[in-house]
């Protein structure tokens, strides 16, 4: 599945929910299903600066594909980063760099977020691209 297809699939899933509580519960659930990130990886250099809650991101490459591990002390933030991981994990650095991540605006989640948290989404995607940029060089 391409990144665009994965995005569409996610949007279709979110469309199933009418109620904001269900959307949030779904996103929180996605966060809970994220691959566990060992506490020893919760280090200062993996911390995404500028978020109100703590978010850690580890970018590595495996067989030419980007692999992302992420965690947060906030379950909503963790759910949000799970959206990105689902879209970008296991993709080539070039595909990550060229991906259009505006899908997040279509989820209807961003408008429910405080500006500080919406900003955190931008910081998260920027950090994931940064990992891809380093891998592609």
């Amino acid at each position: 599945m391409t990144i665009t297809e994965k995005q569409q699939e996610l949007l279709d899933e979110l469309d199933l929910f009418q109620d904001w509580t269900e959307r949030y519960e779904y996103v929180i659930g996605l966060g809970k299903k994220l691959a566990p990130m060992d506490e020893s990886l919760h280090t200062e250099d993996r911390l995404i600066k500028g978020c109100q809650s703590q978010v850690w991101l580890e970018s590595t490459t495996e067989d030419g594909k980007m692999r992302y591990l992420a965690d947060s002390d906030s379950v909503i933030t963790k759910g949000m980063i799970a959206l990105f991981v689902r879209i970008l994990d296991n993709e080539s650095p070039d595909d990550v760099l060229s991906a259009d991540l505006s899908f997040i605006d279509k989820t209807g989640l961003k408008e429910h977020l405080a500006p500080t948290r919406a900003n955190a989404l931008t910081l998260m995607s920027a950090q994931m691209r940064k990992g891809a940029l380093e891998a592609s060089q």
Partner: protein, 407 residues
């Protein structure tokens, strides 16, 4: 039975009628800023419609009318604080500005020598911490901190131990913005005075909830912000004892604060003008006086008893929820701070917002206090005269729903 009915006053606050995310707004973030009643909104508008003109020195009618209104506002605030004279009231942009004024002016005086100490408390807002820290760094003097006990009150035995002949200033808040703790400012000031120390009280969180008599507190300085007491943002007050204001040097230069200017030497105006360089927030001062009049019309005694009933109800409601930690002493004023085990305050605040409830999450500009309690932040509900018991019920329902989603 509580004779005070908040519904009588809610119509005075147009903003409260709105919906948020399709739900009725429940505004419980009053410690951050309070909403403004119609008499305050009208005072702002009236000023620009009927009075707008630059104050002092103007010979024309509007300038004189605006000056009279501005100075009448000063008198209203002086009476409200029971200052001995209006000249003890300085208009600033807010509590933060008032702290910086005092810190900066003291820094230019000859009151400090090497080895001197300033005492603040562990309950302080960053506004009543950082300006003193900056002053200490600049002068090479020491900042001491009164520790906070587990119940969120100050350790006044430790305070007694901290006081010495080296203590030159004690700066504490009257009411803690984070926990609602009411500090024993009369005692704190009288103990400081025994060592000849000056006293500064941050009243940002006390003014909306209780009558303040600066002569009774017997502090040297008392500061507050207009916007937390139903007035506009960008206006605040510094009360200072008159003798002290005469003695201290100005901190900002400009128009209004001078007596005479030549290129060789400038002589300064008398207080309060010495500390009010530039065109002040004229409309803000007038609207703040309207807010003070409003509060007095409603009656601070009624407001205080209504709000403490709300806080008690909120505390009892919270205590009934699982795995809750409530901070601060039971006799709190204005605000109640809490957390739930394993739940990020930010997540809870986000979900409450979805249900129309405005609460504050985070460190409340009190990072050292949060560190003292080993948390990154709390959720805080804070109250005003227009809050209702039904809103506490709405908070309970919303918390239960949010906790179910997060657990």
């Amino acid at each position: 039975m509580n004779a005070f009915d908040p519904y009588t006053y809610r119509d005075d606050f147009p903003i409260l009628a709105q919906s948020v995310h399709g739900k009725p707004l429940v505004y419980l973030d009053n410690a951050a800023t309070s909403q403004k009643p119609l008499p305050v909104l009208n005072a702002s508008r009236d000023y620009y419609e009927k009075l707008n003109s630059n104050i002092h020195r103007g010979v024309h009618h509007l300038a004189q009318a605006a000056t009279a209104a501005h100075e009448a506002a000063r008198e209203t605030i002086a009476r409200h604080l029971n200052a001995t004279r209006p000249e003890e009231i300085i208009f600033t942009s807010g509590t933060t500005d008032s702290v910086n004024l005092v810190a900066s002016s003291l820094g230019r005086s000859d009151r400090f020598v090497n080895g001197d100490e300033i005492i603040i408390s562990g309950l302080e807002h960053h506004s009543n911490t950082v300006p003193w820290q900056m002053l200490c760094e600049r002068l090479g003097i020491t900042l001491k901190v009164i520790p906070v006990l587990d119940d969120g009150t100050l350790d006044l035995d430790a305070y007694q131990e901290l006081l010495s002949d080296r203590t030159k200033l004690v700066a504490v808040n009257h009411v803690s913005n984070a926990f609602g703790t009411v500090n024993k400012v009369v005692q704190i000031c009288s103990q400081a005075k025994k060592f000849g120390a000056l006293t500064f009280i941050d009243g940002a969180q006390s003014l909306p909830h209780m009558s303040i008599d600066v002569q009774d507190v017997d502090c040297d300085f008392y500061a507050f912000s207009g916007h937390k007491v139903y007035g506009p943002t960008g206006i605040g007050i510094l009360f200072g004892k008159h003798d002290l204001l005469c003695e201290l040097p100005p901190w900002r230069g400009g128009g209004e604060m001078i007596k005479e200017v030549t290129f060789e030497k400038t002589t300064y105006n008398d207080p309060p003008f010495k500390f009010e360089a530039g065109t002040p927030n004229i409309e803000g001062g007038i609207a703040l006086a309207a807010a003070i009049d409003y509060v007095n019309k409603v009656g601070l005694t009624h407001i205080a008893s209504h709000e403490s009933a709300l806080i008690e109800k909120a505390a009892a409601m919270l205590a009934g929820l699982d795995e809750v930690a409530i901070y601060g002493p039971p006799d709190r004023t204005g605000a109640i701070s809490f957390n739930f085990e394993g739940i990020h305050h930010y997540d809870l605040g986000t979900l409450l917002d979805q249900m129309g409830l405005a609460l504050r999450t985070g460190h409340h500009c009190c990072q050292p206090l949060m560190a003292r309690f080993g948390v990154s932040g709390t959720l805080r509900a804070s109250f005003a005269l227009y809050n209702t018991e039904q809103e506490i019920d709405a908070l309970e329902a919303a918390l239960k729903r949010a906790l179910m989603m997060l657990r």
